[in-house]
Structures are given as C-alpha cells and as structure tokens.
C-alpha cells in the first residue's frame, strides 16, 4: 500500500488524537490519523465524567447526541459511611463511544484524513529525528513519511517507547481499573458523582458511581497497581462493594464490562524530540487525584497542535522548537498536576481513621480548594482541628 507523505501523522483517535488532528487541519496542516481499532471509541476505557469547563476550553458545546446526564457535584462517602456533598460547576456523564466518533467527524470536516484498523508498529527514525511511522492495515505493512509524528496512543504508549522516550508506568503511579456499566440501579441522587473511599473498599483509590440517567451508571473502581494481588484485584474489590450494597444494586445487571490502566504520575519526563510529540494518556497527562484524563488530554492536544502547526509552517520541527509545547504545558497545567500528585501521595499515607477525621473537619469549600490544588488555608484548619495530620500535610503539601 502506498500512502502519500503527510505534514503530520497522529497515532490514536482518542480525545487527544482527534482534538490534535482538528486543530492541525484547521491550520491547514495536511494531517493523517491512524487508529488500530476498527471502531473508534469502542470499547470504552472510561467512566465518562467531564466538567463543562473541560469541553468549553476547547470550544465544544455539550450535545444531546453524546451527553447522557447532567451533574451538579459529587458526594464523597467516607469509610465509616459519612458523606460530604460538594456542589461544583456543571458537569456531564457522556456516551463516550459516540463522543469520540463526533470528535473524529469534526476533525475530518476540518480537513484531516483517518485510517481505522490501522496499527502503528513503530516510529521511524533517521538518527535522532522521527521521520514517520511503520504501520499495518489488514495484514499489509507500509511506511508513512511525515514531518511530524504525534503519539496520542493512550496508556499503551508504544510509539513513544519505540522512538526512545520511556513512558512505561510504575506500579506505584498507576491505577488498575475495573467497571461495570449497570442498569436497573436504585440510585440516590442521580445528578451527583458518588465517590467511596476506604482501605477495605479500594486501597489507595476509590469506588465511583457515575450516573448516566435515573437508573443507569458506570460503577467502577481504581486501586493503586502495587496493591493489586490475586483475590484482591480491582474486580474482586468492586464485586464485594456491589454485594454489600443490595439497596442500590439488588435489581441491577451489567450491560458492559470495562477495564484499564490509569496513569497517576502527573506526567512523563519528556514530551518532545525532533519531529515528535506525545500527548494525553501516552504522556501521563491525567489528574493524579481522580484519574480524569479527557479534559486534560484535549487541552494539551490543542496546545500541542498549535505549536506543531506553527513549527511545520516555519520548516523547523526540531526538539528545541517543539519544546514550546512542553514548556507552556509544564508552566500551566503541569504546575497544578504536580501539586495534585503531592496531594495523592499525602492521601495515600492516611489510614481510614485519618480519612474519617479528614471528612469530618473539611467543609465543602475546603474540598473544592483541595481539588484545585490550593492548600494554604487548609493548614490552619488542620492546626486547629487535626493537629496530628498537620506535620504530614506540611511535609507533602507545602512548597
């Protein structure tokens, strides 16, 4: 198969890849997206929650074709059964398979080309410079030459590794995820995301219920990979959780099973090399606290595409030129994710009793501040109400 040369080849048609492709194409860059799946968006590896801001930042209007429910906040359930209700700005639970297809359609309308069931095998290099990819479609192998390759290949992240950037996850910075999409639920508060914490419930992670309507929801769990072991895997914990809540799950049945890995390291060390950029899950651009990655991936993809398009126009796709993307990201989103990474490590040190206390003393505003990585005012609360936790909080959250 002979594929013409492209200005940019994007590997992966997830949220990161399709947003990058749309912004590249809008800037007149001749762009090809390849995805190994024969059906974009399927199977999903996601609980489908996103806030309105995450969509607005990249100019996407919520569309009833892929929005299943509107969310007004989250309820945090502590190990002992306590509840903290946090109302935040509007959010949605999506039908992600449809959402991803629409992102691809928008990119195609902007001028990008797509190939599905097409697997990138590796990045091709001339010296230190990436000059294209080797790929396969229906058993036939071929090369695609391009000025720029963007790796948006999700947690697999094999293309960056083939180019020489180590994006392998660590067991202590990676969540093992398992989920049922369930129908027939008896949900209390279906306009809220429900998060359940506790060492017996989800060690160094949490169980979530993300409603997709009155009686349908994504019911899932993420646990730190280092905590996963035979008999105590993500699936085992979730099955036990469901069994212990017959009031919610008694009449329900699964309509899907979803599994996956979630990078919670806050980012890989390098995003660019000559002729090459990494974006989204492949670069671990995920919120280390809740594991949400769609909004962050799409925002990073827009930035990646803007810098990439400009670099192509200037005829300079050197590592130094492309570094503008990495530098800008690290100075903005990166700062917040780094802080949230520290919060994650802090929370992992708390036992169930500490957590209970934590849930007890923190107000709704305090929790919203925490999730926005604003910690300063919280030290006062700790000093007054939980002096035992203060040293730990200062150690991990100050600076």
């Amino acid at each position: 198969m002979k594929i013409p040369d492209y200005d940019a080849v994007v590997v992966g048609a997830g949220p990161a890849g399709s947003i990058a492709a749309r912004f590249l194409a809008e800037k007149g860059v001749k762009t090809l997206v390849v995805d190994k799946k024969q059906e974009i968006g399927t199977p999903k590896r996601c609980a489908e929650g996103i806030n309105l801001g995450g969509l607005e930042k990249i100019g996407i209007k919520p569309d009833p074709r892929w929005v299943t429910s509107e969310i007004t906040g989250s309820t945090i359930h502590s190990p002992g059964g306590g509840k903290v209700v946090c109302k935040f700005s509007k959010g949605y639970v999506l039908e992600r398979k449809i959402f991803e297809k629409h992102l691809a359609m928008d990119a195609i309308r902007a001028g990008a080309r797509y190939m599905v069931k097409t697997r990138a095998i590796e990045a091709i290099k001339e010296g230190d410079k990436v000059t294209g990819i080797r790929a396969e479609f229906m058993g036939e192998e071929f090369t695609i030459n391009s000025k720029l390759v963007i790796a948006a290949d999700g947690v697999d992240s094999k293309i960056a590794r083939s180019a020489g950037i180590n994006t392998t996850n660590k067991m202590t910075d990676y969540h093992s995820g398992f989920q049922y999409e369930m129908a027939g639920l008896n949900l209390e508060g279906h306009d809220m995301l429900h998060l359940y914490f506790g060492n017996e419930i989800a060690p160094k992670g949490y169980v979530w219920i993300f409603p997709k309507g009155k009686d349908v929801a994504n019911v899932g769990i993420g646990i730190l990979a280092s905590q996963s072991e035979e008999g105590n895997r993500a699936r085992d914990y979730l099955d036990r959780f469901i069994e212990s809540h017959p009031e919610t799950f008694g009449n329900s049945s699964p309509i899907e099973i979803n599994t996956g890995g979630i990078p919670v390291s806050s980012s890989v060390d390098t995003f660019v090399m000559d002729g090459f950029m990494i974006v989204g899950d492949a670069a671990h651009q995920v919120n280390p606290i809740h594991g949400g990655g769609m909004a962050i991936a799409m925002k990073a993809a827009k930035l990646c595409a803007e810098v990439g398009a400009q670099a192509i126009k200037e005829g300079n796709v050197s590592k130094e030129r492309l570094y503008e993307y990495e530098k800008t990201w690290r100075e903005t989103e990166g700062v917040k994710l780094q802080k949230l990474f520290k919060l994650r490590i802090f929370l992992e040190k708390l036992n169930d009793n500490d957590f209970e206390k934590f849930a007890d003393i923190l107000s709704e505003e305090d929790i919203i501040k925490l999730t926005n990585a604003e910690y300063k005012s919280l030290f006062k609360t700790f000093a007054r109400k939980a002096p035992k936790i203060l040293p730990l909080a200062l150690k991990f959250l100050s600076g």
């Binding site: 590896r45 083939s162 392998t168 996850n169 995820g177 996963s228 993500a234 979803n258 599994t259 996956g260």
Partner: protein, 58 residues
C-alpha cells in the same frame, strides 16, 4: 507469561506497565513477545481481572 483469553477484557492496561515493552494489544488480542518478556510478573499483578499468570518453569 500465560494469558487466559476467556478472562482478558482487552484493555491494554498491562501494555503500559511492561518494562520490556513485550506486550501489544492488537484490537482484541493481547500478544506477548516471548523473546522480550523477562517474566517479571508486573503485568500479572496489575491485571484488573487476573488474566495473566507468571510462568513458573522459566
């Protein structure tokens, strides 16, 4: 490594943890490159459903 295809949910999560880059998810089929795999067992520990088992003989 041994893969139980009946259990595997083809998510590729194990691919992202393999330090040897020995795993690849081709659509729904997880492929193990026996020459690269060092049988470290990380993928087996990670797998949310326990579809991978370490080779005891090697």
């Amino acid at each position: 490594m041994e893969l139980d295809r009946d259990k595997c949910c083809y998510c590729g999560g194990c691919v992202g943890i393999c330090p040897e880059n020995a795993l690849e998810l081709r659509e729904t089929a997880l492929c193990i490159d026996g020459e690269r795999c060092k049988n470290c067992g990380l993928c087996a520990k990670f797998c949310p459903v326990g579809a991978l088992t370490k080779d005891e003989n090697s």
